[in-house]
Symmetry: C2
Subunit: 572 residues, 2 copies
Amino acid sequence: MPEKVLIIGAVALGPKVACRLRRINPEIDITVIDRDSLISYGGCGIPYYVGGDVAEIEGLYSTIAHAKRDVEFFRKVKGFNVLTRVEAIAIRRADKKVVVRRLDDDTEDEISYDKLVLATGATPMRPPFPGADLPQVHVVSNLHHASAVKSAISRGEVENAVVIGAGAIGIEMAEALTDLWGINTTIVEMADQVLPQALSRDMARIVEKKLVDSGVNLLLSERVMAINGDKENGVESVETANTKLPCDMVILAAGVRPNSELALEAGLATGRNRGILVNKRMQTTDPDIYAGGDCAEFTNLVNGQDCVMPLGSLANRQGRIIATNINGGNEQFPGSVGSFCIKVFDMGVAKAGLTVAQAEAAGFDPVCATVAQSDRAHFFPDADFMFMKLIADRKTRKILGVEAAGPQGDAVKSRVDAVAPLLQFGVDVSFICNLEVSYSPPYASAMDVVNNAGNALDNTLDNSLKSADTFDFVEKMKQGIVTVLDVRSSIQAEPFVEKFKDKWINIPQDELRNRYEELNGKISASEPLYIICGTGPRSYESQVFLASKGIKNTLNVSGGYGMVLAIHDALT
Amino acid sequence: MPEKVLIIGAVALGPKVACRLRRINPEIDITVIDRDSLISYGGCGIPYYVGGDVAEIEGLYSTIAHAKRDVEFFRKVKGFNVLTRVEAIAIRRADKKVVVRRLDDDTEDEISYDKLVLATGATPMRPPFPGADLPQVHVVSNLHHASAVKSAISRGEVENAVVIGAGAIGIEMAEALTDLWGINTTIVEMADQVLPQALSRDMARIVEKKLVDSGVNLLLSERVMAINGDKENGVESVETANTKLPCDMVILAAGVRPNSELALEAGLATGRNRGILVNKRMQTTDPDIYAGGDCAEFTNLVNGQDCVMPLGSLANRQGRIIATNINGGNEQFPGSVGSFCIKVFDMGVAKAGLTVAQAEAAGFDPVCATVAQSDRAHFFPDADFMFMKLIADRKTRKILGVEAAGPQGDAVKSRVDAVAPLLQFGVDVSFICNLEVSYSPPYASAMDVVNNAGNALDNTLDNSLKSADTFDFVEKMKQGIVTVLDVRSSIQAEPFVEKFKDKWINIPQDELRNRYEELNGKISASEPLYIICGTGPRSYESQVFLASKGIKNTLNVSGGYGMVLAIHDALT
């Protein structure tokens, strides 16, 4: 049994390891060091502190019983020592010592260990364009940053802000700046969609529309060239390839990179994402050194590749495993399926597994279905639309990914979390068709949206459902190059028929069996007929019926007009 | 390929089979018969119609696009025939015919089939006490019942109501009567808890307190002897073994039994619950006859026993499978893990798998942990407590069941649905410790309640956490036979110390390392010391610490004082 455990890093994983280890081993010597003075905070809560949901910054480092998680707390309550403002500068593996520097007096020392834990976290990337180091250019990864951002805002110094990067932190910060503070905020993103790591294109469009409708300016496919300003007056503008955005504050949210230098210099292996490689016991290539949290690299259980995943939830779960293993146990962290969720104004978004693009990149042949459906029994008063996308591999029918969005965030998360743990078992699409989510009208439909996403995907794999990407459909509508069959009621279809004339044919579904022959001569030989209804089921049923009558070149608009409105303004 | 398909029953499974079958086979001859005139309704929505959440009864049999699902709808839109007021009276398997009676003119006929589907549903039980057939004694299983109940209520005829049975329908009806209509409502239940099929005892106590706090009278362990009244004036009172409850209406919600007589008379096998036995393809013992929904009996995937499960969700999923298989496919319904959820006033409750009692009955040695935790980051403004119970088998560590309750129903369902599909894989407790539910402060804690339920159960299996059932603790407190160590702050503990004197010792957790010796002499040698905090983690940590100092006869109050308040009035 080890006698001395040293933990480098006291934010999420570090304290978790120490607390658990103390509980299961009252005798072991535990020391945690951190170069910062503020420790053990919920970094993912920073946007909510900036945006006002969390009133005091102490809220981010207090327990539910309102105790501040500081050095004193860990000593008295948890029974171990934390040394703050102490930076690890080298690991001497040969004699099991870590060289540290006390930042307050700049003196050096050595701390010996039997087992070492690297909980060094990650650092926000500062892209290499000029001006990234100007005053009022902020990253948001610790409480000092959080405090600086909120101070400047509450002093009324910020009228216009630019957020660089449309990942989770960028979006959360944009919401914080816009929603409470009314700051005119622009997100600039290099990729052609928001959340490129998390969402497939059509689902990302839903988030984009929500951002824009909530007052955020969004520039996609746009590269930042420079941040203009000077040391004295701070930032003046952000210059992109195509425009210049005047601003008083810039938030850099261009991703993070694992803090693996210390490990690398000590000869430990790092992976393709620069994270510290660990085995399932969370040991690095030196079995006496463990690593976890944002600095570690582990297996993505869906594509089998190494990944990094800077999430407080993973850090906490891994921390428990590391503590158990240091104490002689044998707990395993098999890897991650990439579960993720985010609140975007009044919408919840969640995903697990691979996006369509990630699935392609991993060598799968992804087939997907996107559905729109009520998140509870449609007759229940507070039912809302939920959009859900399910992705499988064509050949094996294995589920590769799931994405969802809708106004009731808990309900969205519910569907994705039910699928997520199954991804590692390689379940067939049929498993999702029959997924036994609990049912009661206030919380679900009898055939729930997650089951119907499975059904739609099953129908797609069977070739009975042929879908159009709704985003593509909208683009083609705008170009006037498609013909639409609208199977909704005449009252609903009328404004569309009026606007699009003979390009928008209305035959209500209950008349289609008698009137389908009217379509003869109206359908282009080269272009498919796009069939649309409110959310997708009636157009699918119509597609199947028309196919039985020989009209086979049709595409179902996924998620129907409900999906159109979620990604685009009204077509009328 | 079959040419003629006959389906008996047009509520949930029947129409689902027919709709799907028509979509995948445009040619096949499909007939659905039902003895009722009102068909294809959401029976589980009836309490919400009675309670006013659903304004019009048509809401329960309309599509999301407001089309009424009647004979005309199925003919014109779905493309098959439904014959209503036609009752199946015999299956002549030898010549593949069903003898039917037209209820309107009392004539008989025969309908031939190549494949037959039994979707005959279930019938509410009418217990054998006198008076169960009096006017204003209602079951609630179809729209006629729903209408009769709501009419009587809205005419102002009901001041006092008795609901017999505290299962899902009984509770939902009690809420409907109390919440909108202000009817003085009493639930009488034979078992010593509500929802005996769904919840373990401590979780049921949470529901019981919610019912009582919401104005429902609750009589548990009480047997109904008779319903008094006469044919002319209707019911006057419900007589139980110990009391007499005056009332103007009685709701019989004592469970349902599968309608399997037709199948039984035709020589098909039925199971221990009187349901029609089906294989994984949903075929009865006659391969040309399928059955599903409330009348069918299939495997419970956790205990391996045959079960019935009257839920619209299962009926819909099974219906799709039957349609696929009739059309030559090979879809399988492996069975059910017993997922269930219910809204009880402003609280959501969900469960999957076995309760403690069911696990014992099935021969397992159940070990459980009950935790109380915030349902989102505790610093997030609208965070609420969630209570969660996780049950595993001691020897194999396999998860057997999960139960949860809390004010945010979608969040409750979310945690249970994430665990439910895993029950059939026989996952180890560790799997739940690491369950990769998605994380963001607005929707979850970094160490989410479901992970912590796993951790608590893991700690219990490791013998580091020794828990008291909170209900037992409260009972013993009332008898004054236990000593409590309260590790909350002095301010919180003060009223308890004042009331319980030397039976309630307060040492705040941050002082315990220095003051634990004060406990010497204060602890009973025979009775364990009960340790309590707000929700459980501090008392657990204190328990572990005291054990390291030799004080080992302690019990942690599961879920802390938060759980006490969820099942009982304040102790002070």
